[in-house]
């Protein structure tokens, strides 16, 4: 078949007229996007909401002195964790806002998306693993202080060794789990973007 014939066929291949009116359009526009970036943005909102609720509960707990064993060290650790979360959420939001430019050339948009997505995955990986260590240390400190009452004593060597050993095991599990989980979430999409860019670069290197 001649290529000019293909053009004619292509031209003939859709004959429908647009049946979307104002009402139909507004129904489409009311739908939420299912694109990867939109999904990550929604997840960030949920993360922020969860942390706000958690901190709200903790503040209520401290103000009402439900747990009399809460010490200043616990409050300092919680404030520090809150600040770290704010830094993480701010950086992630900034990254997401710069992640794509749908009105730009396809190649530049795809490389922008790939670079940002790789940065985001690295951020998740680091924050996830550091977060586990941090939460473990806070939990350990709080439970140790609670067990000892108001007076703070240094733990025995054996206790410390057990604490570090359990922490190390948890860290190794979390390291490999987060690697696997992040691959499940973003790995295929990153690979797809890489393949498309490779196809584009392949044509550029001819």
């Amino acid at each position: 078949m001649e290529l000019e014939k293909l053009k004619e066929l292509w031209d003939d291949s859709t004959n429908s007229s647009l049946p979307i009116d104002k009402e139909g359009l507004s129904k489409i526009l009311n739908q939420s996007s299912r694109r990867p970036i939109a999904l990550i943005k929604r997840n960030l909102k949920l993360e922020v909401l969860f942390v706000i609720l958690l901190y709200g509960f903790l503040i209520w707990l401290i103000l009402n002195q439900v747990d009399s064993n809460i010490l200043y060290v616990d409050i300092i650790l919680l404030v520090l964790a809150g600040i770290l979360f704010c830094v993480y959420a701010f950086y992630k939001n900034k990254l997401l806002n710069k992640m794509e430019c749908v009105g730009c050339e396809v190649k530049s948009n795809l490389s922008l998306q790939l670079k940002s997505l790789e940065k985001l995955v690295k951020l998740y990986f680091k924050v996830g693993n550091i977060g586990i260590v941090f939460v473990y240390l806070i939990a350990g400190t709080i439970s140790y202080i609670e067990a000892e009452g108001d007076t703070v004593h240094f733990p025995h060597v054996l206790e410390l060794v057990i604490f570090i050993a359990i922490g190390a095991i948890l860290f190794i599990i979390s390291y490999y789990f987060s690697r696997w989980y992040l691959f499940q979430l973003y790995g295929k999409h990153i690979q797809k973007l890489k393949n498309i860019l490779y196809e584009m670069d392949e044509s550029d290197s001819i």
Binding site: M1, L3, L6, K7, L9, W10, D11, D12, S13, T14, N15, S16, S17, L18, P19, I20, D21, K22, E23, G24, L25, K27, I28, L29, Q31, S33, R34, R35, P36, L39, E100, V102, G103, C104, E105, V106, K107, S108, N109, L110, Q113, H189, L193, N195, I196, E199, M200, S203, D204, S205, I206
Partner: protein, 162 residues
């Protein structure tokens, strides 16, 4: 007013969006999702359009960027039939079965190309110049020509053997 202008733009480019959905999505539900997603992205970017390029170039960029980065997971959104829209057959019922067969053949041939080649061939079949293709895809004219020759050869061979 913006909504009216937007509907006008959609009417002008509806066929092109349809074709992109047919080329990049395999089943009806994915086609519907992609169609809605493209409209959503066009709407979000509509106020940002500054007439620096042709409107068709802008629509093509958004539609292709959306199609190439779409996420295939989870259930379909609200069915398009719900809002009075159905994906129509690729050809009018009045047309001959030969014509239908040829169109099927063309889409089958295109489905054998990779994602980038699909985009290039669509632009070629829509009579876009290499300058416009470069503006949409960001691939240089020279390499687009070489790539296009390969695609033509692939299409020729496929349509010959089928």
């Amino acid at each position: 007013m913006a909504e009216k202008d937007f509907l006008d733009v959609l009417r002008q480019h509806e066929r092109m969006i349809h074709k992109i959905c047919h080329v990049y999505a395999s089943d009806t539900s994915t086609k519907q999702d992609l169609f809605q997603e493209i409209i959503l992205q066009l709407w979000k970017s509509f106020n940002g359009f500054r007439n620096e390029s042709k409107i068709s170039t802008w629509v093509y960029r958004i539609a292709l960027n959306t199609a190439l980065t779409q996420y295939r997971r989870g259930k379909s959104k609200v069915p398009l039939s719900f809002i009075g829209f159905e994906f129509k057959d690729m050809i009018d019922k009045n047309d001959s079965s030969d014509q239908q067969e040829n169109i099927d053949l063309l889409y089958n041939a295109i489905s054998n190309l990779n994602e980038v080649e699909k985009a290039i061939v669509m632009l070629y079949l829509d009579d876009k110049s290499y300058e416009e293709m470069e503006e949409i895809l960001g691939i240089s004219k020279g390499t687009l020509r070489v790539k296009m020759n390969r695609i033509k050869e692939k299409l020729r061979q496929f349509t010959k053997t089928s």
